[in-house]
Amino acid sequence: MRFTGISLKYGAGRLLFDNFSLEAAKGQVTCLMGTSGIGKTTLLKMAAGLIRPAQGVISRDEGERLGYVFQEPRLLPEKTVLENVLWVLEQRQEQEQERVLAMLDAADLSAVLHAYPDQLSGGMRQRVSVVRAFAARPGLLFMDEPFQSLDAATRAGMHQLFRKLWDSEQPTVLLVTHDLDEALALGTRIVVLGGRPTHILADVTAASVEQHGGTYFSQADQLRLWQLTTGKDGRETDDRKTAAFKLAPSRSSEI
């Protein structure tokens, strides 16, 4: 999937993108990072055809199925967990149902198949939304800070689930995240956006991709990414970021 020469203005006339281009390689997990309001969500929505750019071309493979994990779960309130996942599938065959049940099981949701969204915890709802996106067998999957509202333990579980699901379906993924740890753990490529209008500050590809979706980024790249995403300009120094930065040395030497 490719953005070519995208331009887009905000309502007030501020230029958000000016002649912006980016290509996401097939079967790769491209992570988009950058400060709030830089237009990451807007990029995903443009890629999914929900927003039209003022100028430029967005190209996707013809007939490619899309999946989307929004910031919120966006489940149908009157349908059960299982029904919600099956709802986005084109054909409802027995075979499909088995595949979906296996995925829900992998996401630790077998006990709540027939529960309604308002009976689930926030973390469970978000897991349903992740399973739904993978179940649709997307060629192209967009994920907009899918795990940000979850606590650390749940998030680690979600990362495992993501790897498991990605391993079996191998979609092209565009993932927006604030969390460099997450990007390093899940991405095969990390793109840091910044500036005004938005452009690419850094574009780093994993040095190697292991089995089961595990990736490895070189120490030099990691250091550079830490510096970029922990806000030298002071705009991104909220508590979480500072905490993450302090943890950084031990975390990266582990890898």
């Binding site: 899309l66 149908l76 009157e78 986005v88 949701l109 709540v112 009976q119």
Partner: protein, 260 residues
């Protein structure tokens, strides 16, 4: 009858109905029957009307008029309301007219309708349709404006077909608004019909009430009133039951905990 089921399940409401009945009975003993006939007398008069064959025909007239006016208002109000909810320009064009329509008292419409259409030319239907139209219009408008855009967006990205979007997102989102509009309007329409018939004075319940008033048959006025009130309440309960068949699921699975 559904009202009594509700009353039995819920004793404070039942008690209130009982107290009202007792108050009516008590007052009717203080005043002569020509001023205030009691409940028992009114009920007997009602049965008497039925036995003399003077009950069913006016009742049928009033019901048919209600059904016709209700149907017209529902079709027009919902249609235009959905249209206006989807298109801002349509809303701006239509809503002042609806507001004016709402501001004119139904009695004025009735008098004008008699002049335009004659007493048996459907003037009552016209008035009910006009009275109920704004209700359907504004409720549908509100419903369309509060459609869950995030869910529709989600459906679009996953290329879920139009039919599934309509059945599973749009209609469930509109249902509570329609249910509210239908419940309120059936009661309101029923009373409006009686009032309209009273003014046009030829057929229907309102006309029968007017005749009874002219001959000072207070017990007949009371009998008709009792019937209109009970039927109005029953209609509202009925419509609420029909439009909200599943007030969703009980508590069976509410205490599910996260499974790890």
């Amino acid at each position: 009858m559904p009202i009594f089921t509700t009353a039995r399940n819920n004793w404070p409401s039942g008690l209130t109905y009982l107290l009202l009945l007792l108050a009516w009975e008590g007052l009717s003993r203080v005043y002569p029957p020509v001023i205030l006939p009691g409940p028992w007398e009114s009920l007997q008069t009602l049965i008497g009307l039925y036995e003399k064959g003077r009950l069913m025909e006016p009742l049928l007239y009033s019901f048919l008029r209600l059904a016709a006016g209700f149907g017209i208002a529902f079709l027009l109000g919902t249609g235009l309301g959905v249209f206006a909810g989807a298109q801002e320009l349509v809303f701006k064009l239509i809503s002042p007219a609806v507001s004016v329509l709402q501001a004119v008292p139904p009695v004025s419409w009735m008098l004008l309708a008699i002049l335009w259409l004659g007493v048996n030319g459907g003037a009552q239907i016209f008035v009910v349709a006009l009275a109920l139209f704004p209700l359907f219009f504004f409720n549908s408008l509100q419903g369309v404006r509060q459609l869950p855009k995030e869910l529709l967006e989600m459906a679009r990205v996953f290329s879920v077909n139009r039919r599934k979007q309509l059945v599973d997102i749009i209609l469930p989102a509109l249902a509570p608004f329609w249910s509210a509009a239908l419940t309120v309007s059936v009661g309101m329409g029923w009373k409006t019909i009686v009032m309209a018939e009273l003014i046009s004075g030829q057929t229907g319940i309102g006309a029968s009430m007017n005749t009874a008033r002219i001959y000072l048959k207070t017990e007949e006025v009371m009998a008709w009133t009792l019937l209109v009130a009970l039927l109005g309440m029953a209609l509202e309960v009925l419509v609420r039951k029909i439009t909200r068949p599943h007030e969703r699921r009980g508590s069976a699975t509410c205490d599910l905990q996260e499974s790890r």
